[in-house]
């Protein structure tokens, strides 16, 4: 593609690459979803025919490495990057083990030069990498796996759960998915650092965001920047009419939601974030006294952003749209059921206490430098190991983002 003189040929190679990569992703991940919806339409039209499901096994990490290779192809096409001629190096770029399964989704311009560096065993890298891995495991086994017990018990039986239980479970899920995913990213980044390779940061304390644009600069940064560069900006970004700008935003978030899974709930989740961004952009331009006051309240804005993010997570967590509406109904039509056994869930009060305690520990860990530049890594690693030993749950649940 890079060597083609004619633009027409370049486009053809690009199209071939996109079609192959996206075709594989579509086949493995989305085909049955489209078949399901086709069958629903046929059913509604009283057509006595159902398309058979393919039931293909989803290759682990396909969404991640597909996007990683797409970014390489598009960057070469756009002339931003020279094509890699060494097949082995390219293969390592695609399948680099720390980030193969669940990211961060690296750009070739960043990762390929890293992989070409000589692998060296440096004390500073080992120490920092180990600290990062320990921090990742802390988030995963002390917080995420703990919270999953409560969340699964409530969301597994929404009908019998109390409203307060559902609210707690929804908030817990927000922290569960953050700690699960950012924990994995930390382990991936730390593992790569042991070899002297720098991967990009994927999370920057997203629940401290004071706006939605800020949130998306802190949450799954590798994916949000990918969509910004390869979907949002090519659509026109914000350099167009206002309505087109909002349309571009909305479509980008819808696609982002769809990337997460073949279910209407993910699309709704993405759509909600698109709507949040659009409303935020509109409100930014409005000059109202009350709004200006609100814009100055940092903590209030953080709380509002967090609550709206939790609301969107309800759709992400629910197994289908019906369950999501059931959860929302339980919250809106508050039942005032404060029975302790229901609030505690089937794992009991100690688990509930440790869940809150874990979230407390997470915020305590925010006292540390965001880039984990510590004065004494030995103490951090020792304390981290002990916390994991005493409070960790032994692995019954896998990483949430492995399913994508």
């Amino acid at each position: 593609m890079e060597q083609s003189a004619k633009q027409k040929n370049k486009k053809m190679y690009l199209f071939l690459s996109l079609a192959t990569n996206l075709g594989l992703l579509f086949s493995f991940k989305y085909l049955d979803f489209f078949i399901q919806n086709t069958n629903s339409v046929l059913d509604a039209a009283h057509v006595d025919y159902q398309v058979a499901y393919m039931e293909l096994l989803l290759p682990v990490g396909i969404s991640f490495y597909t996007f990683q290779t797409l970014s390489y192809t598009i960057d070469v096409y756009n002339g931003k990057l020279k094509a890699e001629t060494h097949f082995g190096k390219f293969a390592v770029f695609v399948s680099f083990w720390p980030q193969l399964v669940a990211g961060p989704i690296e750009r070739a311009a960043h990762l390929l030069p890293e992989l070409k560096k000589r692998i060296s065993l440096k004390y500073e890298n080992i120490v920092w990498g180990t600290s990062k891995i320990i921090y990742g495991f802390f988030k995963k086994v002390v917080i995420a796996d703990r919270l999953s017990l409560y969340v699964n018990s409530i969301y597994g039986d929404v009908e019998n759960a109390s409203s307060i239980g559902i609210i707690i479970a929804s908030v817990f899920f927000a922290f569960q998915i953050y700690c699960d995913f950012s924990g994995y990213s930390d382990i991936a980044i730390g593992s790569a650092k042991l070899l002297g390779i720098d991967l990009m940061e994927n999370f920057k304390r997203p629940y401290l965001a004071n706006s939605f644009s800020d949130f998306w600069k802190r949450w799954h940064i590798s994916l949000s920047s990918w969509f910004r560069d390869y979907v949002y900006i090519p659509l026109g970004g914000n350099r167009t009419f206002v309505w087109k700008w909002h349309y571009n935003l909305f479509i980008t978030f819808i696609i982002s939601g769809f990337w997460h899974g073949a279910n209407w709930t993910f699309i709704i989740w993405g759509g909600l974030h698109g709507i949040y961004q659009i409303i935020e952009n509109i409100l930014k331009r409005i000059n109202l006294r009350s709004l200006n006051w609100f814009k100055k309240q940092l903590y209030l804005r953080q709380i509002v952003v967090f609550l709206l993010v939790v609301f969107a997570w309800i759709f992400f967590r629910a197994t289908n749209f019906e369950q999501a509406t059931q959860v929302l109904a339980k919250i809106i039509y508050f039942d005032y059921d404060f029975s302790i056994p229901k609030i505690c869930g089937y794992k009991g009060p100690l688990n509930l206490f440790l869940s809150f305690f874990g979230i407390g520990l997470l915020f305590l860990s925010y006292q540390l430098d965001i880039n984990l530049k510590l004065k004494n890594h030995k103490v951090f690693i020792l304390v981290g190991l002990l916390v994991i030993l005493f409070l960790g749950k032994n692995g019954e649940s896998e990483f949430i983002y492995f399913q994508f």
């Binding site: 065993l121 004390y123 080992i126 120490v127 056994p341 505690c344 009060p349 030995k378 020792l382 749950k393």
Partner: protein, 313 residues
């Protein structure tokens, strides 16, 4: 200076400081945790195994069984000498382990065994029952294969289990969610909605066939014949809907007919007692109220046969 050598030295020094410190702290915590928390309560499986192996009270009447024993037999209401060794999730392999060890002791008190209606089968319960004994040869032979490799390493063997032991300890002291009594742990809460749903589900579900594990079956016969001590098999009350699930309940009665031929065996079957729904936690376990009624009935039945030793005031 060679960069690699100096880095390697630094890394080795780093590991040489952090790892020993980690194990020092964790082993110290482990020691106190075992002594005060794990063996400091009466209701965890580990504390019961520890008691069986290390305590010999010549007047004690042990009660063996699974969660139905643990949650159904109130020791103080049956006899002042009773102790509840029931462990959640365990099967006849664990009961036989307890029975075998009990028969090694020089005692002549009766032994009560809660017999479940799901047939003679294996069941190990949670690994946390056995982790404290990972270095004990007798336990390791029987249960060692169940443990993960790290559960045999001092310093990290309790990873993931601290909370479970702490829960037993807190429940035993504070009786928040369960009432406890000498090893017994009884459900206080009753969810009548879930119980009704479970009853309906049982009626709709397909029946299953009971299959007895022949090795364990033979082991029961062998141990019964090896002693003069009275062995009392008790079937605890069960919700009548349970019988919808079973295809061949007569296989249990055949086992009873076989063992009853021995003079030292007594069988008390409470499974057909029609207890009301409010005495059940679920269709296979009675709650605390049900346990109190059942324990008193059992005491009365045992007294009729003069099986229980006289209590000395």
């Amino acid at each position: 200076m060679n960069l690699y050598t100096s880095n390697f030295k630094k890394i080795a020094q780093f590991i040489g400081v952090v790892l020993p410190l980690f194990f020092l702290v964790s082993i110290c915590v482990e020691y106190f945790f075992e002594k005060e928390i794990i063996f400091g309560n009466k209701i965890s499986g580990a504390s019961k195994i520890n008691r069986m192996l290390n305590v010999s009270d010549e007047n004690e009447i042990p009660i063996f069984g699974s969660s139905r024993a643990q949650g159904g037999f109130v020791p103080d209401l049956i006899s002042a000498y009773c102790y509840n060794y029931g462990i959640d999730g365990t099967g006849d392999n664990v009961i036989l382990f307890f029975l075998e060890n009990e028969l090694k002791k020089e005692k002549n008190t009766p032994i009560i065994i809660n017999f479940d209606l799901n047939g003679i089968s294996d069941g190990y319960g949670d690994n946390n029952n056995y982790v404290p004994f990972s270095n004990n040869k007798a336990i390791d032979e029987v249960f060692g294969k169940r443990l993960f490799f790290y559960q045999k390493i001092s310093g990290i063997k309790y990873y993931g289990e601290f909370e479970n032991y702490l829960k037993y300890y807190l429940n035993d002291i504070f009786n928040l969610t369960k009432k406890t009594n000498k090893g017994g742990s009884f459900e206080l809460n009753v969810d009548t909605i879930s119980l009704s749903k479970e009853i309906k589900k049982r009626k709709r579900k397909e029946k299953y066939e009971i299959i007895n594990n022949q090795v364990l079956y033979e082991k029961y016969i062998e141990l019964i014949k090896s002693t003069n001590r009275n062995i009392i098999f008790v079937v605890a009350p069960i919700h009548q809907s349970y019988f919808y699930s079973i295809e061949n309940i007569e296989i249990i009665w055949s086992f009873f007919a076989e063992i009853e031929k021995n003079e030292n065996v007594f069988i008390f079957n409470f499974s057909k007692e029609n207890y009301s729904n409010n005495l059940f936690f679920n269709t296979t376990h009675i709650n605390y109220e049900g346990a109190k009624i059942f324990s008193k009935s059992l005491r009365d039945s045992l007294s009729k046969y003069y099986i229980l030793p006289q209590q000395h005031n």
